[in-house]
Symmetry: C2
């Protein structure tokens, strides 16, 4: 038996990030940045007005007030986007809209409401009377007030969400180097499996793992190239694997145990490429992992759906993240402390990974098993409610409601840590 940590270390040692390529920002959505990205232009790019109003010389209005109105001559009109930089002599101002660049000669903005011309839709007049003073620099947004030039916008490994892409654009970038999506082939093995919805003869069951794994791969940022289903025949499995040569990853379910008909075991018995391990976890004990001579990483997960789900999150997900260039800190999960929401039993001698419903109760994390009858690993119908899992050490026999356990929240864009 190997520990979960050792098996994961073996997996991660075999993975390097896929070679990055440069893409337009609009095509980078959900990909990971290949390098730190810094500002090419400051944010904001220009010193600009935070208000609709009048750009003034502060000295002109320093003493303005309801009882001391100051009338200024309007020499320009500056909508957002204007390239004008009108000279302002003493006693002169420019009408300015929110976001428009401040004239070089101005050093404050008087908002519309503090003048005698409060209607923003009116045409530009010759003069405006200022009815209140301002402070020097008031209602201005300084160039670089958010980020200066050559400041870090987003670190290597960051996922290019809408907010990240927006920041990259504001920083002057039109394209960015990102790691591509890992291309994944999913193969379900089992002579008992038929296509979803097909009528069942005695002994047959619908293939559910291919949908499960394809969905998990997509959620993890992978591109599902193909989904295949093969009977428990080594030749059929070898043919399916041959078809997966263009993939970065092949995820197999089933056939990794020691049964008489386990095809993964048979195809790779004695192989140096793919090795079998008994991992000290429950579920998920039998695992196969390696790299095919044709290039793809290969994961052989147990066929039981809950075992496959747990194995995916513990071993495959970190590999998919690493292929996408995720930072090392995301590859090894640090569990959170959570309160057990129910009692449950645990298996002897192996670390338990229990699919759980993670909720926040009064701001504190609670982990409740999704399968009401405990951790029976075939309760596929219950798995849909899981958004995390509890991790219970081998030496614990039973978890009681209210006790503190380690737990991992999944399915978040920004993992809660």
């Amino acid at each position: 038996m190997v520990t979960v940590a050792d098996q994961l270390a073996r997996v991660l040692a075999a993975v390097v990030a896929l070679p990055p390529h440069e893409v337009a920002l609009a095509d980078a959505y959900d990909r990971r940045l290949a390098a730190d990205v810094r500002t090419l232009v400051p944010i904001p790019a220009w010193e600009n007005s935070a208000m609709d109003g009048y750009a003034v010389r502060y000295d002109d209005v320093a003493h303005a007030g309801p009882d001391a109105p100051v009338t200024l001559r309007i020499v320009a009109d500056l909508p957002a986007g204007s390239s004008l930089d009108p000279a302002l002599a003493p006693g002169e101002c420019a009408r300015i809209m929110t976001g428009a660049v401040l004239p070089t000669d101005a050093d404050a903005v008087v908002q519309l409401e503090h003048t005698d011309r409060t209607d923003p839709m009116a045409g530009v007049a010759d003069t405006v009377t200022v009815l209140r003073t301002v402070e020097r620099g008031q209602h201005l947004r300084g160039a670089g007030e958010d980020l200066g030039v050559d400041a870090l916008v987003a670190a290597a490994g960051t996922t290019a969400t809408g907010t990240v892409l927006s920041a990259l654009s504001s920083a002057g970038h039109g394209s960015v180097r990102v790691h591509p999506a890992p291309r994944v082939t999913v193969i379900s093995t089992g002579s008992e499996l038929v296509a979803p919805g097909a009528p069942l003869r005695r002994g047959e069951i619908p293939d559910s793992n291919s949908l499960l794994l394809a969905g998990l791969v997509r959620r993890a940022g992978g591109e599902v190239l193909a989904v295949l289903r093969v009977p428990d025949e080594p030749a059929a499995l070898e043919a399916a694997i041959a078809r997966a040569g263009g993939s970065d990853v092949v995820v197999l379910t089933g056939g990794v145990s020691a049964g008489a008909y386990d095809p993964v075991k048979q195809v790779f018995a004695g192989s140096d490429d793919v090795r079998f391990a008994s991992v000290a976890m429950q579920p998920g004990k039998p695992q196969a992992f390696g790299r095919l001579p044709s290039g793809p990483l290969l994961f052989g997960l147990p066929g039981n759906p809950v075992s496959a789900w747990v194995s995916f999150h513990v071993f495959v997900l970190p590999a998919l993240l690493a292929l996408q260039g995720a930072p090392v800190s995301e590859l090894t999960v640090t569990p959170s402390r959570a309160t057990a929401g129910a009692d449950w039993g645990t298996p002897p001698g192996r670390t338990q990974y229990l699919p759980a419903r993670m909720t926040l109760v009064n701001g504190s994390l609670v982990a409740t098993p999704v399968a009401s009858r405990g951790s029976k690993s075939h309760l596929v119908g219950s798995l849909a409610a899981a958004n995390g899992y509890a991790i219970v050490p081998a030496e614990v026999d039973r978890v009681h409601a209210g006790e503190v356990v380690d737990a991992v929240v999944i399915g978040t864009d920004h993992p809660l840590t």
Copy 2:
């Protein structure tokens, strides 16, 4: 001024879920179920073996033990998927693999390890000697043990993740009725905007909102049909809106204030279709919402990126979820209690929506502003770190670190509640 709740109610009153259509399970990923889905077949479908071993008549082995071995005749070999149902006379058994259907005449499984034939790869012999007794029903998974026939698998409005699709397949379904992805056109308005990466003349800034909104729409399950950028000219905006006629939703940013050049305001001034509101929130006060005569819902969000981000989460996201058939409980967010991770100031007289980094510290939720200098709404470079927002009532002047605030976690597949 209208309250956030009233404005959201106006939005939701105008939205109905898009008409559902039937798709193969493999094509239903990330869509919402249009109706409750129930089991057509039980899960598991058959009473089957939980172990590699021998299917026996319990009475034959009731007294077996190391000192009382019982030798049985092997009359069949049952791999997973076998349709055989061999008759077992007293003294007879069948070799059986994990997942294979139990013969009608058997009522227990003896695992390999408790026999004299522990090598699963060996051929099938004529006899096997059982060295330990079992309980009646041991190592069996009963048909329907997880879910019986006509049991609820997933409720209307559930998102079809991999685990949900896997459960639907196990329940006998090959296809499912789902609501389609809302088709969204994103339009940035502003004469100051240029394409990301384009050189900047004085007064110009890169368009960042179109990337921001397109990313948020995709994260929310929408399909981005087109991303357009128009100057502050009513004719240009009208042309862009005309192009968006095939969309379910048009999201505009900018041009909703009272400035002299705000084109959204000009195009829809006095319109019965699209109405403007001053909402008692900060940022996000100016909002436009309505339905175009050509069909699409129209949202006019403030152009400031942080205002657009907040407005999206408070008004557009619930509408996109409703179009996809999300349950009512997901449309109105119930904030969690969180501990403030820092001090921050709040605006007078309006509810504050502050982009925040939400973290779990010792299992408890902490909300920390992402903009180190408070809630300045132009700090687009900082927004990328936000995975939630704090909501501070109008009457609060300042939040102090350690105080309890209301906060919403975003970006989770299963919202933490």
